[in-house]
């Protein structure tokens, strides 16, 4: 029983991932979360001095608050089981990653536990965000100074 034979059996027995259904569910769940986000944006625009451009920030904060409530009560992992990327890609997914790690490591105390482990899952998002922003901005600034590109 050499490696290829074994690998053939493993691949044969592997359950097929339901691509179409996963994509459809991700589309629906992601769409719903973004629609809720749009409603929150309208709410902030209607009652507070926020324009379309600046209403994004409070909307994101509200969605993370909602993610906290859903994570704490254990509903978010049920939504994620259905939605998959549909519940992970929106900012609620980022919030869920931070908040679930914080709740999980509370038993080790606030400084070492929550503080040390909070960004265990979501830290990479911030790192790559800042890194890519820096690289892109650097390249664009250099190109503009050379005169190849305009702002």
């Amino acid at each position: 029983m050499d490696q290829q034979q074994f690998q053939k059996i493993v691949d044969e027995k592997n359950p097929k991932v339901p691509f179409f259904m996963n994509i459809l569910k991700a589309f629906i769940v992601g769409g719903i979360i973004c629609t809720i986000g749009q409603l929150i944006t309208f709410f902030y625009m209607r009652f507070f001095p926020f324009t379309e451009g600046t209403a994004g920030n409070p909307t994101v904060a509200t969605l993370v608050f909602i993610a906290m409530i859903l994570t704490g009560t254990g509903l978010y992992k049920k939504i994620a089981q259905i939605g998959g990327a549909g519940s992970a890609v929106p900012v609620t997914g980022f919030g869920n990653a931070v908040i679930s790690a914080a709740i999980e490591h509370k038993s080790e105390g606030y400084v070492l536990g929550v503080g040390g482990n909070m960004f265990k899952l979501a830290g990479s998002v911030i790192l790559f965000g800042v890194l890519s922003a820096f690289v892109v901005a650097l390249i664009k600034t250099i190109l503009v100074n050379i005169g190849v590109v305009s702002w």
Partner: protein, 121 residues
């Protein structure tokens, strides 16, 4: 009103479909998928494509994690325009701050409020 809700639904859904394809087809872990999408967001802003997408889709483009990369790059570019190369560093978190600060804040509040519960399934 309605039309912006619909476009938010569709564009938001499509970005999540891209994330789902990363996870299912390319077998990336959730952390890898989110990081790739953030990098994608900032590259798109480098080409100036993300701002029109936000104008078109509204929350459909600001809610997904790609908008985090975009607003980082946007802040850096805006500052770089004024102060040159150093602006790239100083402007980074100019535009976006609510995402991370609210995540940290609600993380601690959540850890404070919510006890571990019986494993529900």
């Amino acid at each position: 009103m309605i039309s912006s809700l619909v476009t938010a639904f569709i564009v938001g859904g499509l970005i999540c479909v891209v994330g789902q394809i990363f996870m299912d087809v390319f077998k990336l872990t959730p952390a890898h998928t989110l990081s790739t999408l953030v990098v994608l967001g900032s590259i798109l802003d480098g080409f100036g494509l993300y701002e029109p997408l936000i104008d078109f889709a509204g929350a459909g483009a600001t809610v997904p994690i790609t908008s985090f990369g975009n607003s980082l790059t946007h802040g850096a570019l805006a500052e770089a325009e004024k102060h040159g190369l150093i602006g790239v560093l100083t402007g980074m978190f100019e535009v976006t701050s609510s995402g991370i600060s609210s995540a940290i804040l609600f993380g601690v509040i959540g850890a404070f409020i919510f006890q571990k519960r019986k494993t529900t399934y």
